[in-house]
Structure formats: structure tokens, C-alpha cells
Symmetry: C2
Subunit: 238 residues, 2 copies
């Protein structure tokens, strides 16, 4: 693959920094020095360094110069693939079986329902089971705001999973995901053919579109069938 000049400059420093050859706090050459070193214009150097700034690898201060930043450990990127997509990638056959589908009034004593309905709007409730190769692996309890997503009322969710349909049809702007562990309830255990109390990974997510609540979903995964992997490293772009 042919790299353009500013990409070459960027990756050169990326490699140096990520390999530790340039340590946090080290000073980089000035733009003037780099334009001589690479025999190019200052704008080209600047473009490369700007990219490194927005990637968080370097800090720049006027008059002082350019420095390798100290690593920030706080946030990592977490890969949460679509369940059907992930399973088929791994060669499994995914299926979704609706278990309960209905439109109803919210129970505002339940915090998620109060949030989603804003106290009054009807909710579309979609409960179902995810199967991998005919083996149940997850129970999904989903609520959709009938007011924010009226078109969802006409969809046949035995043909497409609620998650995939929402993804393709309702762009969201904000999402909050909570990850925890829990034991299976009696109902869940029954449907998944496990014993109550079996440890499971529980993912709850709320999704907004510009301050309108869209959906709340709680997914319970059998722990031996699913886990999340997040990787943080050099491969920031591609």
C-alpha cells in the first residue's frame, strides 16, 4: 500500500511513540526541522502532526514545541457487535424467537419504563430468545417508545431481530450501556433451559435520539457462550 507523504510522516512518529522509542515527555523536532528532513512543505508536516494530536499521541504548545503525551488509560474502545453479525462471523447460525410482543401502557414504578415513556407514552414490548445453532444463549427484554418510533408497530420481528431493525431504521445519537453480572431469574432460567441463579452477563442499554428516548434493552447472556472483548492499541484508524 502506497502511503501519501503526510501519512508516512504520521506513521513514522506513531511507530516511534507506540514502540517506546520516543517516550512520554520527549520533544519532537519542530515543523521547520521536519520540512527539511522530509523535504516537503510545512502544511504537510502540520497535517501529519495535527492527526497525531487528535489521536492523543502528542501535545503541542506554542513556542515550546511538540511533545509525546503521557498515556491516558481511562477510556478504552469496546467492541459490542450486533449479536447476529458476531455469531455468523464465528460460523454459528443465529436465530431469534419472539416470546412476547405487545403494546401496553408503561408501569411508571419501573425506572426504565418511566424514563422511556416520559411518564405516559405507550411502549412496545418485545421479549425473545437468541439462539446459536439452536441452543438458547441469551434472553432479551426490549421496550421501544411507541411515540418516538411509531413505525416499529408494523414490523414483523420474527423475520428480523429488534436490534438489527432499529439499527438500520432509527439512527441514534446517544447511548448508555451498563454491564453487570446477575443470576438468572426463574422465568429466564426456564426459557434458557438453565438452573435459576446461573451466573450471566447482563447488558442494559438506553438509546436516545436527540433527547427523545428510543429504546431500552436488557440482554442476559449465558456466560459460557458470550463475552466482550475490547482492544486498545495502535490500530486506531483503518
Amino acid at each position: 500500500m502506497k502511503l501519501s507523504l503526510h501519512e508516512k510522516i504520521r506513521t513514522d512518529f506513531e511507530d516511534d511513540i507506540l514502540s517506546g522509542r520516543r517516550a512520554p515527555g520527549d520533544r519532537l523536532p519542530t515543523e521547520k526541522e521536519l520540512m527539511e528532513q522530509y523535504d516537503c512543505s510545512r502544511m504537510t508536516v502540520n497535517k501529519a502532526l495535527s492527526a497525531l494530536v487528535s489521536a492523543g499521541l502528542i501535545d503541542r504548545r506554542k513556542k515550546a514545541g511538540t511533545f509525546v503525551s503521557s498515556p491516558r488509560v481511562h477510556s478504552m474502545i469496546l467492541d459490542i457487535p450486533d449479536l447476529p453479525a458476531q455469531l455468523s462471523e464465528q460460523g454459528h447460525i443465529h436465530a431469534y424467537t419472539p416470546h412476547l410482543t405487545r403494546v401496553r401502557a408503561p408501569d411508571t414504578r419501573m425506572e426504565p419504563e418511566a424514563w422511556l415513556s416520559k411518564g405516559a407514552d405507550d411502549l412496545l414490548q418485545l421479549d425473545g430468545i437468541h439462539l446459536a445453532d439452536d441452543r438458547p444463549i441469551a434472553y432479551e427484554h426490549r421496550l421501544i417508545s411507541a411515540r418516538s418510533v411509531p413505525s416499529a408497530l408494523d414490523v414483523d420481528f420474527s423475520a428480523i431481530t429488534p436490534g438489527s431493525w432499529l439499527l438500520q431504521n432509527v439512527p441514534w445519537t446517544e447511548a448508555e450501556t451498563k454491564i453487570s453480572a446477575c443470576g438468572l431469574s426463574g422465568l429466564e432460567a426456564d426459557l434458557l433451559k438453565q438452573k435459576p441463579g446461573t451466573p450471566c452477563l447482563c447488558i442494559e442499554r438506553r438509546t436516545w435520539r436527540a433527547s427523545d428516548p428510543i429504546t431500552y434493552v436488557r440482554q442476559v447472556f449465558l456466560s459460557d457462550a458470550y463475552d466482550l472483548v475490547a482492544r486498545f492499541g495502535p490500530t486506531s484508524s483503518s
Copy 2:
């Protein structure tokens, strides 16, 4: 705060896209149109749009134009704060009690140890309990490569947690985190004063520095005391 011109252009489109005013698939004006609209040069427009590309908000194709990208739900930003830091933020008192500290040869039948030791290097094993307000909330099993981090052998880990010390002293370049659910083993249940099989959130992490393995850690959290929250939204930069 005064925005420079390319920042204004960028944030204008950022707002449009994140609010849904411009939906995925919509076509944006060409660079030529934008340079007239904002009365500026093409490079300025280009800088703004390039930033949006690397933020993943738009896609650009030669001859065809610029389009709002379909949302990728794949990656979210997950905040995994330092345990002591997070607890003290919430007003709790954190403590760490070492339970087992020793240097030993790896057991290469165990996959993480084979990886960390590269088959032969000695390992520093640090097992301990995390407490919040004197209540045990997590069991931590950590291995550190004695070859990659020789200085760790001289540290007193009853004064600082292994995680905090590593964070401050050993810059890493890559990390892989696996999140799953599990039931407590007998030993773990004993130390945490719970029943075996209690559902727990399990976080495993491997950390590299430029292809040298640094550390492997497995943390088991009581599910009622800890969960992870990830939020994805407009605040991409700042």
C-alpha cells in the same frame, strides 16, 4: 470560546449529523459549494471535512461526493477507571489487602502464564482483595513479567495497589480486556465472604508494551457492588 473557521464548519456539520437533521446516507454539499457558502478557501473546508472523516461521521468518495455515514454501533468508549479512583469519587474508602505475593516460575499449561512468560520468564504473582468501606468487593489475581518489569520486584504493594503502580510507572501501548460473568470459586468465595457460585463480573486484561507482555490481571467483582457504564454520544472531543 472563539472557534476558528474550520472548527466552525466542522461543528456545524457535527451538530447537524448528531441531531439527526442530516440522516445517514444524506449527501453533503461539495467542497466547492462549501467554500462559497463559508467564503473561504478549499483547504479550510477540506480540513474540517477530513476531521469528520477521522471521527467516522462522514464518508467521502471521489467523484460521488460526501455522505453521512451509517452509524457504527460497533465501538463504544468504555470508561474503566482505576478502582481506587472510582471508589473515592463515589465517597467510599478503598483499601487493598495483599493475600499472596511471590515470585515463581510460570505454569505453562496455563494459557495466560505461557503468554506472559514467553514460556520461561519468572512471574511476580500478586493476589489480593479490594475493599470498599471495609467490605470486600473484588478479588484480584495479577501476574507481572519479572523480565519486562524488573523494578516491580522491589515495590511494597501493601502501600499502593499493583494496578495504580503499574499505571504510573510502566507505560503500555496495547491492552486487551475481556469481560464476562462467572460464579465464585471456593477460594474466592471464602475470601470475599460469599457463597461459592455467586454471580460475579469478571474482567481479564492483558497489557503489552511494544510486543513485550507486561501483565495479566483477572478481577472478580461482586455484582451488587460494581458495574461498568459506557456512554457514547456527541462529546467526542474536548
